[in-house]
């Protein structure tokens, strides 16, 4: 360190020592406490809001899941003894009639023809005849 730098060092210490006269205002601790409280309140609000949002999202997911499961469970019931056979009527309307009574079971049959093993019989309520093994089942 040169003499000049040593002199600068002394001058720097002297100049900075002048800042020892600075006195903070008296209400600083109150401001800090208020700031801490405000931050904690904000954090708590954010926490509960997030929790509420997460709960709402979970509820929506649950409702959608439940609906999906319900839609998958089409209330299929096996029509046993004797099964009915869907047939296309002369007016090109699908009709399912009971083999036992020969009376039509689905009177509001759609005009659609059987597709594969399924025969749509009405649009509302959705109803479907399916061939499952030797018997037919109806989804209602």
């Amino acid at each position: 360190m040169t003499d000049n730098e040593r002199n600068t060092e002394d001058r720097l210490r002297d100049a900075l020592s002048a800042y020892e006269q600075v006195e903070p205002a008296g209400d600083a601790w109150g401001k800090i406490r208020a700031g801490v409280n405000a931050k904690q309140t904000k954090r708590r609000t954010v926490f509960w809001s997030s929790l509420g949002l997460a709960g709402a999202a979970a509820a929506v997911v649950a409702v959608i899941g439940f609906a999906a499961v319900r839609s998958g469970d089409d209330g299929e019931r096996v029509v046993s003894n004797p099964p009915t056979i869907p047939r296309v009527s002369s007016r090109s309307r699908t009709r399912a009639s009971s083999a036992a009574t020969t009376r039509p079971v689905a009177t509001r049959a759609s005009s659609r023809k059987p597709v594969g093993r399924s025969v749509p019989t009405s649009r509302r309520p959705p109803s479907l005849w399916r061939k499952t093994g030797p018997s037919f089942s109806v989804a209602g």
Binding site: M1, T2, N4, E5, N7, T8, E9, R11, L12, R13, D14, A15, L16, A18, Y19, E20, Q21, V22, E23, P24, A25, A28, W29, K31, I32, G35, V36, K39, R43
Partner: protein, 174 residues
């Protein structure tokens, strides 16, 4: 509690710890911030903000013996950020406020002291920070390194370059 153990601080302990830190360091940190920012009000805002930030992070401070260094580093970072903001504002100055206090309005500096402080503020930020922490806070190289988050070697370099630059500026002004 051993120094290296994580600090398990519940809210009440945090408040007590913050209060102790306030009693011990608030005044000196405000003075440090005034040196950097040259306005007492602004300096107080920065230091108060540092305490509020620290309160939220006390749980994460692993070594209790380093809390004061951590607090000081928050003050330095906030002060640097305010200075940067002020430099940007100077490039796009608003309408002058006639009743606003001037720089160092709360501090009585002699002309020769003012000259040194002005020269100090003209230095690059790292050099200025090292000189202030070394010659005002009387910190060791290791403590300065911890406060600024740099190596001891860098502290040495910034301090010696800063001192050389300060000498040069003061020689020119004479």
């Amino acid at each position: 509690m051993p120094a290296q153990q994580p600090v398990e601080v519940v809210t009440r302990d945090r408040d007590r710890l913050l209060s102790e830190l306030y009693q011990e360091h608030y005044r000196s940190l405000v003075r440090l911030a005034v040196v950097l920012l040259d306005r007492r009000e602004l300096a107080e805002e920065v230091v108060q903000e540092a305490f509020i930030k620290l309160h939220g992070k006390l749980d994460r401070v692993k070594d209790q013996s380093r809390i004061d260094a951590y607090l000081r580093s928050i003050v330095m970072n906030l002060a640097r950020s305010r200075m940067r903001r002020r430099m940007v504002a100077r490039k796009h100055p608003p309408e002058p406020m006639l009743d606003a206090p001037g720089a160092d309005a709360d501090i009585d500096l002699r002309d020769d002291q003012r000259e040194v402080v002005d020269a100090l503020r003209s230095l690059p930020a790292r050099q200025r920070d090292c000189l202030v922490l070394r010659y005002y806070q009387e910190l060791s190289e290791a403590e300065i390194a911890e406060t600024l988050g740099i190596s001891k070697g860098s502290v040495k370099t910034h301090t010696s370059r800063g001192m050389a630059a300060l000498t040069k500026v003061l020689e020119v002004s004479v």
